[in-house]
Point group: C2
Chain length 259, copies 2
Amino acid sequence: MPLTRTMEKLILVTNDDGIDAPGIKFLISFLRPLGRIVVVAPQTGMSGMGHAVTISTPLRIKQLASENGIDKYKTNGTPADCVKLALNQILDKKPDLIVSGINHGSNHSINILYSGTMAAAIEGAMQNIPAIGFSMFNYDTKLDFSFAGTYIKQICQNTLESGLPAGTCLNVNFPDNSSPKGIKICRQSIGFWDEGFEKRIDLHQKPYYWLKGEFIVPDQSSNTDDYALKNGYISIVPVTIDLTAHQNIESLKKTYNDI
Amino acid sequence: MPLTRTMEKLILVTNDDGIDAPGIKFLISFLRPLGRIVVVAPQTGMSGMGHAVTISTPLRIKQLASENGIDKYKTNGTPADCVKLALNQILDKKPDLIVSGINHGSNHSINILYSGTMAAAIEGAMQNIPAIGFSMFNYDTKLDFSFAGTYIKQICQNTLESGLPAGTCLNVNFPDNSSPKGIKICRQSIGFWDEGFEKRIDLHQKPYYWLKGEFIVPDQSSNTDDYALKNGYISIVPVTIDLTAHQNIESLKKTYNDI
């Protein structure tokens, strides 16, 4: 096997909008120059699935026709399932990088916790594989993602070269603006959904409910992802799998007399 | 309305094992002395749903017969949906406390990210409502949870009295031992699933896959939840909705020349 082949980086690509979504097609085209790409993605949209994993129904894998040397598989699982299936059933070695997206709609602030896109990246962090989730603060399904290519290549290339600290990944969001002002390294903003449900009546006179809401970020500090996006920058938030509120440990110890 | 009524605390109870699971029945019985209980829980088991929310199918709510003054509702949604529906459609005021569980099986370490039980508590943290998830490091479906009652009452009473810092909740796990040595305030341990899939062949000769794995925690520091549980203590981890890896921000800023 020639040296260039053994040196070639292996990149696993997934998403939560499904394997036929425009975002993942753009992503694949951007990443092609960086290494060997294997795609393992949900067969349908999985938005809002968070870090769900499938434990009560059988998982299926279907290999699709290769396109330009890129192996593609679709599964009936969630984004987290796709990463697990790829690592354990599909790939012949550990990937050098996991890339998820490009998601239609942002996953900044606390939305990371609802995001299947980011769950796939967090699966990488859990297995100490460098991983990045890309999302777009735009909901136009006909959006041309081309402008993001240079940035995505740069961020993935940097990550392939330098890796990421154990137990972490990157949450990258693009602003709703095809000429970003640049990249900002941010902390996650703390926002909340001001929610409600639209109550409707079905044909049998029974009520059903659709979730609706407005996302509000009271914290407008300039070092947050929300501020960066609203001011035309790409936000990169380093994400940890350690959810401990370390700053609260001492006061809790006093409450519980845990010395 | 008498003063005692207006002073009464409102406690929302949910879980991810479903409204008929033994764990939630024990939980309700423990919490009854602390205030007015309203139960809004999934109609079936939702284990492994993580922080999934339902956005593509209609949500339904069914009110059940009240039992001993406790209002009960079941929904076809996830644990996170149940909290959202409760806050926006069912409860007549903001609850003083959200309690989720008791889960069959632990949700310590990174398993918090897969846990529907903890997603319900995290929903509380997102809305600045004190919230606690309780789980049991035991998978015996006939387990008598009674021994946990004193501790659960104490932890809920403390939380009702003192509240919790904004954007945080508690992840409480009981050891596999009906005589816990006491309570330890911990940080979340960093473990990982050493996973695989069992491949089976269906009646049509097509393969399907079941996730299986072993949970491994290399980090055995005495201040972790894993250590506490394995040594017979109840672990309490304060949890934050801020997933920023703050310690990585400076080095990333250098990589991206973000001054």
